[in-house]
Amino acid sequence: MIPVHDRQAGLGGLTQQQRRRLQQRALLSLKYLILTVLALLFLFPIAWSLINSLKLPSEALAVPPTYLPTQIVFDNYSELTNYGNYGVAGHVENSTIVALLTVVGSLVLSTLGGYGFARFNFPGKNALFIMVLSTLMIPFQSILIPLFVMLVRFELNDTLIGLALVYITFQLPFGIFLMRNSFLAVPKEIEEAALLDGCSSLSLLYRMMLRLVLPGIVTVAIYAFINSWNEFLAALIFMSDQDKFTLPVFLTLVRSGLWGTVDWGALQAGVIVAIFPCLVVFLLLQRYYINGLIGGAVNN
């Protein structure tokens, strides 16, 4: 009889099974190696920005740049508070107000609208639903000119409310779509019992349904926040008063050296301030964000 391992030639007399296991382990290590290298490359820009925001302002301007800071200080951040009429804090406040208005507005409208489209029958329902969703096909970039003219007419340009109204509208198709699906997923029997007990539609929505569609609500809120916090073009067009600039538009002024030479350290401090809330929201609630992305993109 021939011993098993003799029949399996190659690799120092290992059995085929052992060989395959070894091969798999090597492949897995290689995969982790590639993943780690790629992850470092992806993290690099953010990490590099963070490192530089913590350098001394003079060191952040060094030519050629230094790799690591000689000391870690927050001077770039405090310098940023002196730009413009009320510094970075004022623009963080502008962005926060616009983002909160957008979040609250799109939540209220998408919840009411999603519930209405999911649970009620009324004439013209399908036409209205298609009208709302069809705006997904139209890029907002192509209607910015009349929007600007309208906002000027209603004296809403240069106001945070005006910008938020536009952002809420941009969020609605996605919000309505998502909330309608969330309500459709709730079993009808739950409501019917409450309605028979004489509960009004609005209090039913408020008391029972909201808890059942919470994942949808969280998703709509995250998207409203991140999109309005990051939006650049509309904010650039609708705001001409520098004091009303949102954070990204304000940072382009820092970059263009409006207040003296370009202060790269302060700019990177600003970049970190702008990135931070988005990363926190994403890392804490990424399940909702990703599900929204897949659900929204694939089903549209």
Partner: protein, 297 residues
Amino acid sequence: MKALTGSLSWEQRRKLTGLLFVLPTVLFVAVFFIIPLAMTGFMSFHDWPLIGEQSWIGTTNYSELANDRQFRKSLDFTFRYTLFVTPPIFILGFILASLVRHNIRFIGMFRAIFFMPVVIGLGVSSLLWVWMLDQRVGIFNKILLDLHLLDKPQLFLAKPSTAMNVIILSVVWKTVGFTMILLLAGLQSIPDELYESADVDGAGYFRKLFYITLPLMRRTIALALILSVIGSVLAFDQFYIITRGGPRNSTISIVYWIFNNSFVYWKLGYGSAMSIVLLTILMALTSIQYYVLREKE
């Protein structure tokens, strides 16, 4: 509300309530989307300065558009940019999706890291990249010089070809996570048994890729491609911030040229005519998207 609806039947009350629930949304969409959309068309037939009288000028804006050399340059540039940026996003997205497909240890962390740039604003990421690309304080020149791959600092943004390449690099970093997640969802919907039986038949990696993975992911791939194409056709932030349209107006995208005409030169009617052209291009692209995604197996 009780007083108002008291005389109505329960059925009718339900109808009215439903209508009231969707009314705010419908109003918002009508006022801030449908009306502006119609107005874009209306304005495109006008000479429409910011201050002063608007006047009807028929199709003059459109005929002017045909002779606008920069507009044609912008169309050409935008399509070339789209053509060049889409393959790297898709290919890297596919590689990343394949790498993070199986639930091995720490995979959630890797997925999150690759996706992280997606939640950063494109404007802000462009501010980050323009600094990294700077000739004097930028890290790219520093690293390339230290590795002796360059002998003197490069002005990456001074030549049209290198400007295009570095912008593509920045956009791939910023958006590839999105494509990765879409493709990952597609990959994970393929049943493992298919691969197992292919393994039994002794099929290699590429055989499985071309006979199982790619055919079954047709819809997801089409979706990822079309979304990436639409995003590229609408590109603005990266050119406005990183290259400022330069060198020599070579990186002015369509949206950028609309922006300049409308909000720098204040030719709002002319900008509207260009917006209608942009809209037409985008509608064509989304129609393709809906057409491809509609056919179900």
